[in-house]
Amino acid sequence: MSSIYEQIGGEAAVEAAVDIFYRKMLLDDRVAEYFESVDMDRQRAKQKAFLTMVLGGPSAYTGKDMRAAHAPLVKRGLNDVHVDVVIEHLGGTLKELGVSDEHIAAIAAVANSVRGDVLGR
């Protein structure tokens, strides 16, 4: 069976998704502070890698990188609430792109599986 990544249109779909997702994060007061003073192009590239991974696209995800990238944010108070916000906006983004609820639930479960890495637990 092909991955959700392939079913929704592969790289081109992720390209469309990443701008929508990033916009939602920047506009959300619950998480926006963590995006102040970051290079937008680099941030977008990281989000694209993340979206590719949770959608089952070509990825070499390592929990180590995720931990290292978020460690400074955890020190600044990053917690479960923020991870929930990410999963919420991930779902909203995919819904806008016409992904089925069933697929969204499966993708959210993958995203949820990296919670420990993000929060350094």
């Binding site: 790289e11 390209e15 701008d19 916009r23 192009d41 070499a60």
Partner: protein, 323 residues
């Protein structure tokens, strides 16, 4: 096995191996992160050989045009030569031919390089004085100008380079390093509306990009927004107004923080005037140049209004900071 060369040195390649893996195995220092073609950490410049489309997926057109690709996504099938010197740090000798005033605090510095500098209008160079003092400036000239290069330099209070340029640089020998930057015109879509916006000497790269687009026969509407503190700071006004008369699809929008509105001149903040005047954001390509707070703020606002991030080319000027 196809031959792989990195900056002139042969790198052994194994069956089905990516360029990134081959480089790492050979002990070449190269940045990498996601290894999935997404994070763009492993950007290399292909100097000869075929670049697979997937190795350039997601890259800005300006990077593709310069042969950049993601090493983790290239599995060479034929001979390939790459370079890790992304910013092509070649230095050329040049002479300061003339320094004129464009505005009270803006200099037009004309340089003649000893050899022709390969650059795209809108890129920047590092100007090196004989004692090693270095500052980066955007090029306002176009490659068609040959060895004549033009920089617009804001005279900064206490600024060592700018005050030297203002008072005693004429005739001096300098060196130039670069070019760098991916804020330049590419003719992928000649119908796409272009919005060029800059404050102060942010006009320098835009002046080059604008003339590049017009010379390339760009057909989509082109707007150029130039902001300054006061009306006197709006330089090249006559030239830009003239271009707008010659090219009906080009419009010039000068704005100043203080003064009286007259003709095309608007009073107010550049970002606010621009955001109010642009009807929608999904179609255009944006070029934003000037001081970092303005450029970064505008980039964020345009993105939030719906402009795709890949269509926003921003060159944020960072002032020199004390050692």
């Amino acid at each position: 096995m196809p031959r792989l060369e990195c900056d002139g040195r042969e790198v052994p390649l194994a069956e089905g191996e990516s360029v990134l893996d081959a480089l790492l195995r050979a002990g070449v220092e190269v940045a990498s992160s996601c290894r999935a073609g997404a994070c763009q950490s492993c950007l290399v410049r292909v100097t000869s050989g075929a670049v697979p489309a997937r190795a350039q997926a997601g890259l800005k057109e300006t990077l593709r045009a310069r042969g950049f690709a993601l090493a983790c996504q290239i599995v060479p099938e034929t001979a390939l030569a790459i370079s890790l010197e992304g910013k092509s740090d070649l230095e050329v000798a040049a002479r300061v031919e003339a320094v004129d005033r464009l505005a009270a605090d803006v200099l037009c510095v004309r340089l003649r390089s000893e050899t022709e500098l390969a650059y795209r209008a809108g890129q920047f160079v590092t100007l090196l004085r004989s004692d090693g003092l270095a500052r980066a400036y955007s090029l306002a000239s176009r490659p068609a100008d040959g060895q004549l290069l033009e920089l617009h330099v804001r005279v900064v209070a206490g600024g060592r380079m700018s005050n030297w340029l203002a008072t005693e640089a004429t005739g001096a020998s300098v060196r130039l390093r670069g070019p760098a930057g991916d804020c330049f015109y590419t003719s992928t879509d000649a119908e796409q509306p272009l919005v060029l916006a800059g404050a102060g000497t942010g006009l320098a790269p835009l002046w080059g990009i604008l003339r590049d687009a017009l010379a390339a026969g760009h057909r989509g509407a082109i707007q150029l927004w130039h902001g300054a503190r006061d009306v006197e700071g709006l330089y090249l006004r006559a030239e830009l107004a003239q271009l707008s008369r010659e090219h009906p699809h080009f419009s010039y929008h000068p704005c100043a923080l203080a003064g009286d509105e007259a003709g095309e001149l608007r009073i107010g903040r550049l970002d606010e005037l621009l955001l109010r005047a642009v009807p929608s954001y999904a179609r255009q390509r944006f070029y934003l140049c000037g001081d970092a707070p303005l450029v970064q703020g505008l980039k964020r606002k345009l993105f939030l209004q719906g402009a795709p991030l890949r269509e926003i080319f921003a060159d944020a000027f960072l002032g020199a900071s004390a050692p």
